[in-house]
């Protein structure tokens, strides 16, 4: 058995939105089955539970519904992750349930996705739910979207019907901020255009779902322009056996944006102290440059005050910094967002106190239009709010950088994660606390 030893394989993360009725589980099952990613004992387990509870019908949803309560109630409660690989790419699927708590689940499953697959039933066309899923994908700035028009077998594999649905979707597209959209006609039940090209739709010359997932270009999904390193942990060896390490002081973290090079000037925010990069350590050892999203340890030339929660940035491309924030918030908890209540806000590696001062409006997630006169945000609502924080947040717009433009809200006491926030492009750049300070 020979397998190629060292060809580069990258990783695509995608989520699937739709409900069981749209054939989502069947589509995932088909993808796994046809790409030979389902194992015999998994198929066996499916058959076992089919005999016991399903009246002999194999239910592919049982593959992803991992919890007892889900199987009992026949619903999907939580996001499930599945893994499969082809020789070209590795894939992580976040399977997000469609009906219940769809906003909360989709935000969870899609926040780190490169791509979303929105399932549409060819008989029904673009419905309310398809619009919602696309709007959330757009709000979360997922770089790539696939509209999988499923159940083509039930509309006679009609090209006309496919074009009609594609037009419906394109009509709605200008309202969204999606960069890359692809419509693919499939029949998950029979496997048409999922892994293998369909012989029943010769009019369609585009890629199958899997070949699109294999080919879509994700190299530019990370922001490689403005250098950002939120300091996560200060690395100071305790009693090192190597005397050269006595004065070692490294700043560890995951690069959230851009590229950093040895010899480059960097600024620490919010303080504004500047220094020069002396050394960069990556998992592969000492290097001359590193880039997002690598986890690194950076050593600076000068011994300046830096700790967890600070951010190293490119002084030529400064982020924003403020205690007054304007944000889109997705509410995730049954206890609604209360104006004036103190929450903890975690942004990159710092946690500060925060209070919502104003709820400006709620966003109708079927058309992205604002609804005013809103007193609170309930679970699954998305709204625009103003917040005040106890210390300044150093940030970028979410559209430019998902990692430095996002935050979560935590309820003190219960420690529940109650909200997810996205920040707009800053209106003014950071003014360092010690502007004139340089070494």
């Amino acid at each position: 058995m020979s397998i190629p030893l060292h060809h580069p394989v990258d990783l695509l993360r995608f989520n699937t939105c739709g409900s069981v009725d749209d054939g989502k589980s069947t589509l995932i099952g088909r993808l796994l089955y046809d790409s030979k990613s389902l194992m015999d004992d998994q198929v066996e387990a499916l058959e076992r539970s089919a005999d016991l509870t399903g009246g002999g019908q194999i239910n592919l949803a049982n593959l992803t519904d991992g919890l007892r309560a889900e199987r009992e109630q026949g619903i999907t409660i939580d996001v499930a992750y599945r893994y499969f690989a082809t020789p070209r790419r590795k894939f992580i699927i976040a399977d997000t349930p469609g009906h219940v708590q769809y906003t909360r689940n989709m935000v969870t499953g899609a926040s780190s996705a490169n791509l979303s697959v929105v399932l549409v039933d060819a008989r029904l066309g673009i419905i309310e739910q398809s619009r919602r899923h696309s709007c959330i994908a757009s709000l979360l700035r997922i770089p790539h979207l696939v509209v999988a028009i499923n159940k083509m077998d039930l509309v006679g594999y009609s090209e006309e019907r496919f074009m009609e649905i594609r037009d419906q979707f394109e009509e709605f597209l200008p309202r969204l901020t999606l960069r890359d959209v692809k419509c693919i006609p499939v029949s998950a039940l029979d496997g048409d255009n999922v892994v293998d090209p369909s012989t029943k739709m010769p009019w369609y010359s585009g890629p199958t779902l899997l070949s699109h997932l294999e080919d879509v270009h994700i190299g530019s999904d990370w922001n490689l322009r403005a250098f950002r390193l939120p300091v996560q942990w200060v690395n100071r060896p305790n009693n090192p056996s190597d005397p050269a390490l006595h004065d070692f002081r490294g700043l560890s973290g995951q690069i959230a944006g851009g590229i950093v090079r040895v010899g480059q000037e960097v600024m620490v925010l919010p303080s504004g102290f500047s220094s020069v990069v002396k050394e960069i350590l990556t998992p592969e050892g000492s290097v001359t440059e590193a880039f997002a999203p690598q986890s690194v340890t950076v050593v600076l030339e000068h011994d300046i005050d830096v700790s967890r929660g600070d951010m190293l940035v490119d002084p030529e491309m400064l982020p924003g910094s403020s205690t007054e924030l304007h944000a889109k918030i997705c509410w995730l908890h049954p206890r609604p967002l209360q104006r004036g209540k103190k929450y903890l806000l975690k942004h990159t590696t710092q946690t500060v106190q925060a209070a919502v001062t104003t709820i400006e409006h709620r966003i109708n997630i079927s058309n992205l239009r604002p609804e005013s006169g809103v007193e609170e945000l309930a679970m699954n609502d998305i709204g625009e709010v103003r917040l005040t924080t106890s210390s300044p947040i150093v940030y970028d717009g979410y559209a430019a950088n998902r990692l430095t433009g996002s935050f979560i809200l935590i309820e003190p006491g219960t420690n529940a994660t109650v909200g997810a926030g996205m920040l707009p492009h800053p209106t003014e750049v950071a003014r360092p606390e010690y502007k004139d300070f340089s070494i």
Binding site: P8, D78, K90, W233, L281, Q294, A420
Partner: protein, 300 residues
Amino acid sequence: MTSYFLDHLQYLETEAIHVMREVAAEFERPALLFSGGKDSICLLRLAEKAFRPSEIPMPLLNIDTGHHFPELNEFRDRRAKELRAKLIVRKVEDAIAKGIAVQAPGQISRNHLQIPTLLAAIEEFRFDCCIGGARRDEEKARAKERFFSFRDGFGQWDPKNQRPEIWNLYNARINPGENMRVFPLSNWTEMDVWEYIRKENLEVPKIYFSHTRRCVRRHGQWLPVNDLVPIKPGEQVEELVVRVRTIGDIISTGCVESPAESVDDIIAETAVARVTERGSRADDKASEAAMEDRKKAGYF
């Protein structure tokens, strides 16, 4: 491809290191669960990388059922010594003697007894976080678990009430007496683990490679014959060339017939495997919700 490209292993590595550093920064008394199995071997290498040139800033913890493969414990002790790491071992046997763990009548497996033993160790050392090597591809209850998995004062997991995990922002906050389990390898598959072992040239216990062993066929799998797995009347013992894919207790770990002698062989075998890794673990086959039930009670 530009040079600013991470392949899948580099991406998984960078994610796991970020998670580990988040633990070091947010918790006061974390521990790293290290059994000497292949997943925790990767975990240990990632911890070395996350914190170097510092030493790993937390002790290693292992719950020894007393039914471990001897090769595994020998390996565990040697690796800890090589890394100058502090290794804490707590034994199920001692927990039984103290009455913390109670064996159900007629039950031989000590798998369940790891739970009270682990919880007692957490209490003894006041650990607020344990890093473990569990992966989401292993089992479907695990497929739903978070990187940061919150446990209440009784060590219980509440799958219906998990904290949403969004972007790379992990909510690590707990109240006194509560506990977090953190799984940096959540997104790794069995294949990724072996590819990483090859890439990093990591040593693994010899029982992962093919060897000759006396086995007995029971419940559709080959169990290794030893003092704890005596042969029952009518059972046939065969001498087979086998290896283990996953290591649990010596009484519930099935061996698979395999000629794989090297990591490359194992990778080739994994690529064409038609059975999941945990298909050879009797402890998971007890019922469809076996893993979920153990996790709710405080399992790893």
